[in-house]
C-alpha cells in the first residue's frame, strides 16, 4: 500500500513531505539527547532486518495467498518511537530508491502513513497502556496485535485520503474505503500476530534486551485532551473499517452501512473540510496551475471554474496525437544518437 | 539404481545480475560415488551445489536427479532425495531449538510424531550432539552448529548428500568425526571444499571448477597430486602431501 507519485497532486505531496521532514527533524533531535552509541549500529542493522523480513513470504492461513511484514510496530516496541521512526523512514527511502516502491515525492506520504502512525500514535497511545510494564506475555501480545491493527488501518485510511485529495482518481470515498480498509484489516491482523510472536520469542530468549529497552525508552508525554481526541479519531476509523468489512460480507447491509458511515456520517464532512482547506493551500502555493490549462481545456478558462473534464476539440486532439508520436520518435532518435556516439567512443 | 544418479548436461547458469557462474558444465555421478568439487574462491562451487535440489534452476542445459529432470515442478520431489548442508550453519538452523530444527524436515514429510522423535534421536547421535537437543542454536559454538546442521540433513535420510565447505569451523577432532561419517555413508556424496585433505580422505573422484567450467575431472588421488593443475586453480597440494 505504498502511495505512488503518479496519484499525487503537488500540494498533497509537498504537504506530506513537510510533515514527514518535520517529524524526522524532531525525532533526530530527540534521539540525539537520549541515544547511547550502541544504538547507532543496532538501528542500522535493524533496518536491514526489516528489509530482509519483508522479503520473506509466508502463507496466510485459510487464504493460500502470501503476505509479508511491515515492521513498524516491531521497531517501535524494540527501539522506542524515535529510533524506530528513523529506521522506518530509512527503510522506506531505500525502498523508494531501489525498488521504486512508491516514488520520491510519495515518500513523504509513505513515511507519514507507515511511520508516524505506528511510532507516534499506536505505540504511545495504544501499545504502552495495554502492555503496561511489559512483563506478561499475554498482555504484550494483545497490545502488539491491537496496535499493529490500528496503525495499519490509519495508514490505509491515509492512502485513501491522500489519493482523493490529489484528485487524480475517480474513486468515490466510500468505495475506496471499502476496498482498502478490510484488506488492511486482514493484513494488520497477520502483522499483529507476527509482531506478537517475535516479541514473545525475544522475551523468552533475551528478556534483558526487551527490558533494557522498555526502561530506557522515553515515555509518552502526559495525555492531554488532544491525545484523547486522537484516540477518538482512531476508534472512528477502526469502526469504519470494521463495519465496512462487516458490510462487505453481508451484502444486504451494504448500502445501509455505506450510507450511514461515509456519506452522511461525520467522516465525509470532515474530509470535505480538510479537502477544502488543502485546496486553498494548493491555490496559494501552486505556482504551477493545476487547472485551467489553456490548450486542453479552453472552456474551463472562460467559465472561470475548474473543468471537471476536458473539452477537447477534435482538431486539437489530432494535433496532440500526431505531436506526441513525433515527440516520442524524436526522443528515441536522441537516445539512439547518444548510444551510437558512446559506442563509437569506446 | 537409476534414481540416485546425478547428471549435468551442458548446464549454464547466469545470475540475474548477469554474472555467468556456470558455463557448459557436464558430468555424471553414479550411485554411491563420493565426489569432491574444488576450485578457488568464486569459481562456482556453491552455485553448482544449489542446482542439486533446484534452489537455482539452470539457465540452459539439463540437470537430472535420479529419473527426474529438474524443473520448477519436480523440485519439491527432488528435495526429498537430495540433502544439502550449506557453507554457514547459521543459515541452516532457523528454529528456536536444536530439536525443533532437526525435526522440521521429518514433520514436513508428514511423519508421525513418534517416528519424528526416532529420526531426530538417530540423526543427533550420528553427529554426537544428542546432549544439545534443547539448546537454542545461536548459543552453540561454531563447531556445534555445524554438527547440528549436518544432523538436520541426515534426519531426512537423503539418497544424495551434498555439503558445501562442511569443515570450515570444526576443530580437528570434529573434522575427523565428519570424515568418518562421510566415509561410512553409503549413498552418493558431493562435497565442495577448500580443505583438500578432507577431499583426499573422503572422495574417490574430484572435479575442478574454474570460472564456472569443469577444468578437470578424474580420480581424486591423481588430481590432488597434480601440483601444476592445482596451482593454476588457486589451490595447493593437500597439506598432508606437502613435505617439510
Amino acid at each position: 500500500m505504498h502511495m505512488a507519485d503518479a496519484l499525487l497532486s503537488p500540494a498533497v505531496g509537498a504537504t506530506m513531505w513537510a510533515g514527514s521532514l518535520a517529524a524526522l527533524g524532531y525525532a533526530s533531535k530527540k534521539l540525539k539527547e537520549t541515544i547511547d552509541n550502541k544504538t547507532i549500529p543496532l538501528m542500522g542493522v535493524m533496518g536491514a532486518f526489516i528489509f530482509a523480513a519483508q522479503m520473506i513470504n509466508f502463507t496466510i492461513p485459510g487464504t493460500g495467498s502470501s503476505g509479508h511484514l511491515g515492521g513498524g510496530m516491531i521497531l517501535a516496541i524494540m527501539l522506542g518511537p524515535y529510533a524506530a521512526f528513523l529506521v522506518l523512514a530509512s527503510v522506506l527511502t531505500v525502498q523508494a530508491l531501489f525498488f521504486a516502491d512508491g516514488g520520491l515525492l510519495a515518500l513523504g506520504c509513505n513515511i507519514w502513513n507507515l511511520g508516524i502512525y505506528p511510532c507516534f500514535l499506536a505505540y504511545p497511545l495504544i501499545y504502552k497502556p495495554i502492555a503496561g510494564k511489559g512483563t506478561s506475555t499475554r498482555r504484550l501480545s494483545i497490545a502488539a496485535i491491537v496496535s499493529a491493527l490500528i496503525a495499519l488501518q490509519l495508514g490505509a485510511f491515509s492512502v485513501v485520503l491522500e489519493t482523493l485529495l490529489s484528485g487524480k482518481s475517480e474513486l468515490p470515498l466510500d468505495t475506496f474505503l471499502l476496498l482498502m480498509q478490510p484488506i488492511h484489516l486482514a493484513i494488520g491482523l497477520v502483522e499483529g500476530f507476527v509482531t506478537a510472536g517475535i516479541i514473545s520469542y525475544v522475551q523468552s530468549a533475551r528478556p534483558e534486551f526487551l527490558e533494557s529497552n522498555i526502561t530506557s525508552r522515553p515515555h509518552a508525554a502526559g495525555t492531554p485532551v488532544k491525545n484523547i481526541l486522537i484516540v477518538f479519531a482512531i476508534i472512528t476509523v477502526i469502526t469504519g473499517g470494521a463495519l465496512s468489512w462487516f458490510a462487505s460480507t453481508h451484502p444486504d447491509g451494504l448500502e445501509w452501512s455505506i450510507e450511514k458511515i461515509t456519506r452522511k456520517g461525520e467522516l465525509a464532512q470532515q474530509t470535505q473540510g480538510i479537502a477544502a482547506a488543502l485546496r486553498k493551500v494548493q491555490e496559494k502555493t501552486a505556482f504551477l496551475p493545476d487547472y485551467n490549462f489553456p490548450s486542453t481545456s479552453p472552456a474551463a478558462g472562460k467559465d472561470g471554474k475548474p473543468a471537471s473534464w476536458p473539452q477537447i476539440e477534435p482538431g486539437t486532439s489530432v494535433a496532440g496525437i500526431v505531436g506526441s508520436a513525433i515527440v516520442l520518435g524524436l526522443i528515441m532518435l536522441i537516445g539512439f544518437g547518444i548510444k551510437t556516439f558512446k559506442k563509437r567512443q569506446s | 539404481m537409476s534414481h540416485h544418479i546425478v547428471d549435468f548436461r551442458n548446464v549454464f547458469f547466469r545470475y540475474p545480475d548477469s554474472t555467468e557462474a556456470l558455463r557448459d558444465v557436464s558430468f555424471r555421478i553414479t550411485h554411491g560415488e563420493a565426489v569432491g568439487i574444488i576450485g578457488g574462491n568464486g569459481a562456482g562451487k556453491s552455485t553448482l551445489l544449489l542446482h542439486l535440489n533446484g534452489h537455482l534452476l539452470p539457465t540452459s542445459g539439463i540437470v537430472t536427479i535420479g529419473d527426474l529432470h529438474l524443473t520448477g515442478k519436480t523440485r519439491q520431489e527432488i528435495r526429498k532425495k537430495v540433502g544439502i548442508v550449506f557453507q554457514n550453519p547459521d543459515d541452516q538452523l532457523f528454529m528456536p531449538t536444536v530439536y525443533d530444527d532437526v525435526a522440521f524436515g521429518p514433520r514436513n514429510l508428514g511423519m508421525e510424531e513418534e517416528d519424528v522423535r526416532q529420526r531426530v534421536h538417530d540423526a543427533l547421535n550420528l553427529v554426537n550432539s544428542f546432549a544439545l537437543r534443547d539448546k537454542p542454536p545461536h548459543h552453540l559454538s561454531c563447531g556445534q552448529k555445524s554438527a547440528v546442521a549436518i544432523a538436520t540433513v541426515m534426519a531426512m535420510e537423503p539418497d544424495i548428500l551434498a555439503m558445501d565447505e562442511p569443515a570450515a569451523n570444526l576443530d580437528p577432532k570434529s573434522r575427523r568425526l565428519l570424515i568418518n561419517l562421510l566415509t561410512t555413508f553409503s549413498h552418493s556424496r558431493i562435497i565442495a571444499s577448500h580443505d583438500l585433505d578432507l577431499i583426499l580422505d573422503v572422495c574417490s573422484r574430484c572435479i575442478v571448477i574454474r570460472e564456472g567450467t569443469v577444468a578437470a575431472d578424474g580420480p581424486a588421488r591423481e588430481i590432488l597430486s597434480d601440483r601444476k593443475l592445482l596451482e593454476e586453480n588457486n589451490l595447493e597440494l593437500p597439506l598432508s602431501l606437502q613435505r617439510y
Binding site: 521504486a100 474513486l171 517475535i198 520469542y201 477534435p314 505531436g323 516520442l328 | 522440521f104
Partner: protein, 269 residues
C-alpha cells in the same frame, strides 16, 4: 524465487551505480534536485493531460542512454511496481464516463484520459527515480542528502542500512532456502514457522549489531561517523541543471507535442 530475484535486483542496480559515465560524474546534489524538480513538474499536470507529458520522456531517455543503463531492466522494474497505480487508475474509465471526442469519428470516456495520464506519470516518475539511483551510487546520494541538510543521524542510518541490507538479505535468502529444502511446499511456509524464523533472525541481528559495535569501538568510534567526502559543483553541473530547468519550463508551459503536431499537420495535410 521471488526473494532471490528481489535481492539480485538491488545488487544489480547497485552495481550499475558504480559505473563511470558523464551522468554518473554529475554532482549528486544537482542530480537529486533536478530529479525532484522533474517529478514535481510531471505530477503538476492536470488530471486529463496526456499529450503534454510526452516531451518529458526526454529526461529519462538521456539519463538512460548517457548513463549506459539497460532499458530492459528499467522497463521490467517499472512493470513490477505498477499494479497499485493501475488498480487505482483503472476505475477512472469506469466511473468517469463523460464522452470526449478524440478524433472526428472516435469518442471515448473522459476517464480514459485520466487513466492514460496516470500511467504516463507513473512511468515517468518511477523510471526517473530508478535512473537516479542507477546513475548515482547510494552512498553518494546519502552524502548529498547530508550536504543538503538532512539530519546526520538519519543519513548514517541510511548508510548502515545500505551496508547491511546485502548481508542480511543474503543470510535471509539462505535461510529461506534451508526452509524450502525441508518443507516440500507444505506446512513449512506457514505463518507459525515464519514467526519463529523471524524471532531467531531478530536475535541474530541484535547479536550482530553488538559485534559491529565492538568493531567500531575498536577503531575509536565515539558517536560520530566521520566522512572525508566533499563534492564541489563544477561548470558542467551548472550547465546540466540550467538546461534541465529550461526544458522543464518549456515543456510545462508550452504544449510542445501539440505545437509540433499542428506544424506537421499544416505541412502535410
Amino acid at each position: 524465487m521471488a526473494f532471490d530475484e528481489q535481492y539480485y535486483n538491488i545488487g544489480y542496480l547497485d552495481r550499475l551505480s558504480y559505473a563511470d559515465t558523464f551522468v554518473h560524474r554529475l554532482d549528486p546534489r544537482i542530480k537529486l534536485i533536478t530529479s525532484l524538480l522533474f517529478l514535481f513538474t510531471v505530477i503538476s499536470f492536470p488530471k486529463y493531460e496526456v499529450a503534454a507529458l510526452f516531451p518529458f520522456f526526454l529526461f529519462p531517455a538521456i539519463l538512460l542512454t548517457a548513463g549506459e543503463i539497460p532499458l530492459w531492466f528499467i522497463v521490467k522494474k517499472v512493470a513490477i511496481v505498477s499494479p497499485f497505480a493501475i488498480f487505482i487508475g483503472i476505475f477512472n474509465p469506469l466511473l468517469d464516463t463523460a464522452p470526449v471526442a478524440v478524433l472526428p469519428a472516435l469518442t471515448v470516456a473522459a476517464g480514459w484520459f485520466s487513466f492514460a495520464s496516470i500511467l504516463l506519470k507513473f512511468i515517468l516518475t518511477v523510471s526517473t527515480a530508478l535512473l537516479l539511483i542507477a546513475t548515482t551510487s547510494f552512498p553518494t546520494v546519502c552524502h548529498a542528502l547530508r550536504q543538503l541538510g538532512m539530519p546526520s543521524l538519519f543519513v548514517s542510518q541510511l548508510l548502515f542500512l545500505y551496508r547491511y541490507i546485502f548481508v542480511l538479505a543474503e543470510e535471509t535468502m539462505r535461510i529461506v532456502r534451508a526452509r524450502d529444502m525441508r518443507s516440500f511446499g507444505r506446512k513449512g511456509t506457514d505463518v507459525k514457522v515464519f514467526v519463529r524464523i523471524m524471532g531467531v533472525l531478530f536475535l541474530r541481528t541484535v547479536e550482530r549489531a553488538e559485534r559491529i559495535y565492538f568493531a567500531m569501538l575498536a577503531r575509536g568510534f565515539q558517536g560520530d561517523m566521520p566522512t572525508g567526502k566533499h563534492y564541489s559543483i563544477a561548470t558542467r553541473d551548472m550547465i546540466f541543471a540550467g538546461s534541465v530547468v529550461v526544458c522543464l519550463f518549456v515543456f510545462r508551459f508550452y504544449p510542445v507535442s501539440e505545437i509540433l503536431g499542428r506544424f506537421f499537420q499544416e505541412l502535410f495535410l
